[in-house]
Amino acid sequence: MIVAERKPIQEILSMISGLRKILILGCKGCVTVCSAGSEREVMILATIIRMGRKKKDEPIELVERTLVRQCDPEFIDQLSDSIGQFDAVLSMACGVGVNFLADRYPKTIALPAVNTKFYGVAEEQGVWSERCAGCGDCILNLTGGLCPVARCSKGLFNGPCGGSVNGKCEINPDINCVWQLIYDRLKGLNQLDKLDEILPVKDWGVSSHGGPRKIVREDLKI
């Protein structure tokens, strides 16, 4: 899932300073799963904002709504009848949702209430960590299913750097060295021979270095 985290309260209050009627818009997709922008988080943020504005004697009218997803036209277009009444929409979706709001409603101010962090997993309740960098050319078949692009601090492709100590990363000892994990896993799978293959220089053109990416599936288009 895409993992996000709510922005600091003062940053949000500063962003909406002077605005009087705002739609706080949650999303039932990834940000609900990672508890950043669910219906419940919308309720909490709305309460916090009202408290902050009351304290400054600057009341605000807030409408709370949560869409199934903010990244699909059939859901984001559900706002078309009502969006004109708001000074701004404060989206609790990931950055994708905010962008799509801005794309679909050129006359509406679209503001982000969360920082979008990474594609990751829930390690346990309340703990998320990164697993995929969306680099556009997956090599997990060669690395035991563990990604050196997302999980090596240096993004190395052919084994660990010299700084791996006891399976930990020299950048941050809380991080497991993914190349140690890859080696251990391939050894356990009797696939150490996969490490004999030297991975060529990665084509970052299919990653974000090549500009905004797009997929077109003619078989699905109507």
């Binding site: 600091p8 309260i9 003062q10 419940r40 309720m43 909490i44 309460t47 916090i48 009202r50 408290m51 902050g52 009351k54 304290k55 004697d57 009341p59």
Partner: protein, 139 residues
């Protein structure tokens, strides 16, 4: 702070913690429970969500607290520990809003300990009196 300030305080209380005396609120008051603390009984302190605490403060309460089972003896396992985490979340929100985090607290209490329950309420009243009225009161 003026002695005339009578804080409005809401106490979310776990049913199991106060089961033996909660039905007799008049008796509780006679035993010294402050009249300005309103009890909201819940099935488990873990049922108290962050938004319940926040909305209570938003609506102008001067203080809000939760009373739940002892940390390792929660009737429902982890309810009171969850409540503690939520109280800490609300404290952080108050801090970020420039309000006193002491306006919310979590208390763990042995089941049925009426004297301790009264002490907690009095402690909260004194603490909030020292802080003064909530800046959201009447707004």
């Amino acid at each position: 702070m003026s002695d005339t300030f009578k804080p409005e305080i809401i106490a979310f209380c776990c049913h199991y913690t106060i089961y033996n005396f909660a039905r007799d609120l008049q008796g509780l008051t006679k035993s010294g429970f402050p009249e300005n603390v309103k009890i909201e009984k819940v099935s488990c302190s873990g049922r108290v969500a962050r938004v319940h605490l926040l909305r209570t403060l938003e609506e102008g309460a001067d203080g809000v607290y939760v009373v739940g089972c002892e940390e390792e003896k929660c009737h429902n396992g982890a309810g009171s520990r969850r409540a503690k985490k939520r109280s800490e979340y609300v404290k952080d929100v108050l801090l970020q809003l420039g309000m006193e985090p002491e306006r919310t607290e979590m208390f763990f209490m042995p089941r049925g300990d009426e004297a301790k329950f009264i002490d907690i309420a009095r402690e909260m009243v004194e603490k909030i009196k020292a802080l003064g009225p909530s800046p959201l009161r009447g707004k």
